[in-house]
């Protein structure tokens, strides 16, 4: 009995610490990227974020690439990777897990900006992107 209480206590502590690690939110990430870019949060632009999402860029072997290419025209819809695996929706309105883990967000910006833009994204671009996605209904 005591043992069980101890174990469940430990399990709850474990969950609490995991939650503490992933305590980021779209708002906190926007603050962070605005700071990095040296601008106020109010200077982040949802329309610029939407344009970043939709703009087609020249990719390899003559094809064009864009965020929307895999994530679909609507970020509330699931997308598909090149080998056919489902991508959960990007917009927090459809998928509350999005933008709650800064390390994960950074990993995917690093990878996907390279793939789509052939370069890293700036802090301003990342902030714009989240500003747009977090207001998509």
């Amino acid at each position: 009995m005591i043992k069980r209480a101890l174990y469940s206590g430990l399990a709850m502590l474990g969950m609490a610490s995991t939650a503490a690690l992933a305590a980021d939110s779209p708002a906190s990430l926007m603050t962070r990227y605005a700071q990095e870019a040296g601008v106020p949060v109010s200077a982040l632009s949802a329309p610029r974020g939407a344009a970043l999402y939709r703009t087609e860029h020249a990719g390899r072997n003559g094809q064009t690439v864009s965020c929307a290419g895999c994530h679909t025209a609507s970020p509330t819809q699931p997308g598909q990777t090149r080998v056919g695996k489902r991508i959960e929706p990007l917009a927090p309105a459809a998928n509350p897990q999005r933008f709650t883990d800064a390390a994960k967000v950074e990993k995917w910006f690093r990878r996907n900006c390279q793939d789509v833009l052939q370069r890293e994204c700036s802090a301003q671009e990342k902030g714009d992107f989240i500003a747009w996605l977090s207001q998509v209904k």
Binding site: T81, V83, G84, K107, R111
Partner: protein, 176 residues
């Protein structure tokens, strides 16, 4: 008497083996060779999470160590996509892949992959191994390019339980 004892011994052995087989939880049963599962007995968390972001986490036994070193050494250009990882995660996954690779000697599937592998061969793609090609030689070329399949990398298009490590022929359903 002697025969009776032996008989009891055999029956007991069969019983124990049978019980063991049935006591494995079917949903999480791993172990290469046991029930046709190609995944290692223990699963690595990073391997599962990271490799399965874009495709299923391919079984380590599908390629030799040298292949996995090439794959994990070139993640920034991973079949045309940037799949780069932080160095610690990358090293952890490579260790797991090497420990369970086709030539690690831990897997019946791996042994079959190696039987058909030329010495010093280190293909980057599972679909390039002679083992894979032979296993799929009855699948017409047109089937691979169906929209419902997408790419040969999409094991789960036909092997519905691929992510769980099950590739048995009776689980195959080729989509229209």
């Amino acid at each position: 008497m002697n025969y009776l004892m032996r008989g009891i011994g055999v029956l007991a052995t069969v019983g124990v083996v049978g019980l063991l087989a049935f006591s494995l939880p079917s949903g999480t049963a791993h172990g290469d060779g046991g029930g046709g599962n190609v995944l290692p007995r223990s699963l690595n968390k990073n391997w599962q999470q990271e490799c399965a972001s874009c495709h299923i986490a391919y079984a380590p036994a599908f390629l030799p160590k040298a292949s996995w070193r090439r794959v994990m050494g070139g993640l920034d250009q991973h079949f045309g996509e940037n799949a780069s990882l932080d160095p610690a995660t990358q090293a952890d996954i490579l260790r797991y892949l090497e420990a369970n690779a086709a030539d690690a000697g831990t897997s019946p599937t791996g042994r079959r992959v190696m039987q058909r592998m030329a010495a010093n061969d280190a293909p980057l793609r599972i679909t390039e191994t002679r083992w894979f090609v032979r296993k799929h030689d009855e699948v017409p070329r047109a089937t691979w390019s169906r929209k419902s399949v997408g790419a040969a990398a999409n094991c789960a298009a036909c092997h519905g339980q691929a992510a769980q490590g099950v590739f048995d022929e009776d689980t195959v359903r080729i989509p229209k």
